[in-house]
Amino acid sequence: MSQIKPYDFMVKYQQQKDWIDGRGNFIAFAFFLGGISGGLYLAAAYFDSLLGMFVAWLLSLLMGVSYMAHLSHPFRSWRMFMKPGTSWIARGFIFIMLFIGLTTIQLILSQWVPEATGAITVLKVLAGIFAFAQSIYTGFAVSYVSAIKVWNSAIVPILFVTCGLSGGLAILLAITMGGDHAQLVMLENVIRVVLIALAIIIGVYLWNTTYSSTAASDAVKRLIGGSLALLFWIGVFLFGIAIPIIISITSYFAGEASSGLLITAIVSEIIGGLALRFAILKAGMYTPLLPAE
């Protein structure tokens, strides 16, 4: 706030910086990691990939670390268990803790007591529920903020979940490469559908947001043709959608894609997911309280 000239404060459209500058970068990372961790766990549980579920667990731990790094007083974070009634950040904290706890037990059982199939299935279902919750809450935490019109959209949680699923599937593809060919083909097919869905959701979100308010419309203009255009077109569009879709379509018609191409698509998709969180958080603008001119 100190960088704002006193006569500019709330007289002009102002970008939110609390969740993007300095420590704020960590919350963008946490949202990204929460998304791909949730998406990866769901995909890995479906395809029964123990390594995939383990990586999802690791990513969730990393999300927790990123979350803590965002807080000024991380040692007080236990208090976040206290208010799940109204706060999405508190709810998210509980979801992450439950996901990590349940997945830890499930991974231990799957690795060392594989005959306990009943318990493993129950834990997988429960962990899957919290994986989904961990992924979607990041969208709700953002969309709940009615002060920032570009965030205040019901599409944001869907967008974050789809993007997380896309990233999670990409990581699972990397884990599966060199393994079961049939599973690889099936994964590629799922990724194609998710990528197309993601592209449609991003399009609908931008179109819908443009018509919601002046502040939201300005934010979309900044994303598409303003100061955030580079991040949006190169980060979100090129890396997150165009490159993976082109490689995916190529592999569909060619029958099989080379490992190099697949790795390019995977890395590109992950970069795109990260860019999407940063782009949306950076696009957050406050409506001025007074007209400037």
Binding site: M1, S2, P6, Y7, F9, M10, V11, Q14, Q16, D18, W19, G24, I27, H70, L71, S72, H73, P74, R76, S77, R79, M80, M82, K83, T86, S87, W88, I89, A90, F93, A141, Y144, V145, S146, A147, I148, G284, Y286, T287, P288, L289, L290, P291, A292, E293
Partner: protein, 215 residues
């Protein structure tokens, strides 16, 4: 009981006395402002109107900041005052993001001083003793709740007696700011709001502010 303010915009001359009084009252560090004077313009020459709005936390009846706070650090008292328990705040900044009025700020640099490179002023030294602010927690206007509480305990009436009234209200040289109980239909503040058609700032934010502006 619900404490509220009514601010007469035509009386405000934009002297910033309320801002300084608040800073002095709470020993606020540099870059921390619990209230502000916003200055804007509308219209085009020759029919330009200058807008001067003295703004602070609106002590909303339905505050977004209280809802989003994950630890319960931001609380609302029975008299409507919204305050931050500094010992509970984790510094997640969700409340800062959620406040549509942007009336919250983070106190980060505990070494910041008004005259960098020089010794702390006596005021700064006293402030660190009397009104310490924790770094890494969120700051906001609390309607000078300490003055209100001490005043009520001494049998005084906030809004009537100076000692029980917020610093910004009593410091205003043009008496543009009024303070009182919004729940009391016979209070002076309710009479002013009713007679002069007071309205909340940006009612579309839908948080039911306790500060009314009179054009």
């Amino acid at each position: 009981m619900r404490w509220g303010m009514a601010i007469e915009l035509k009386r405000c001359v934009g002297c910033y006395e309320c801002v300084l009084a608040c800073k002095a009252e709470h020993f606020l560090p540099p870059d921390i402002f619990w209230n502000r004077v916003l200055i804007g313009e509308t219209g085009k020459y020759p029919t330009v109107t200058k807008l001067i709005y003295n703004v602070r936390c609106n002590q909303c009846a339905d505050p977004a900041c209280v809802k989003v706070c994950p630890t319960g650090a931001t609380q609302q008292r029975e008299d409507g005052i919204v305050w931050v328990d500094e010992d509970k705040c984790v510094g997640c900044r969700y409340c800062m993001i959620a406040c549509p009025y942007q009336m919250r700020m983070m106190y980060e640099d505990e070494n910041a001083q008004y005259f960098p490179g020089q010794e702390l002023t006596e005021h700064e030294k006293i402030g660190k003793e009397l009104y310490p602010h924790q770094p890494g927690v969120v700051q906001k206007c609390v309607f000078c709740k300490e003055r209100i509480d001490a005043g009520i305990e001494a049998g005084l009436t906030p809004g009537v007696d100076r000692e029980a009234t917020p610093a910004c209200v009593i410091s205003c040289p043009t008496k543009a700011i009024h303070f009182g109980d919004l729940d009391d239909p016979n209070s002076e503040i309710n009479r002013i709001i009713k007679e002069k058609h007071g309205h909340p700032f940006h009612p579309e934010f839908d948080t039911d502010p306790s500060i009314y502006y009179i054009d």
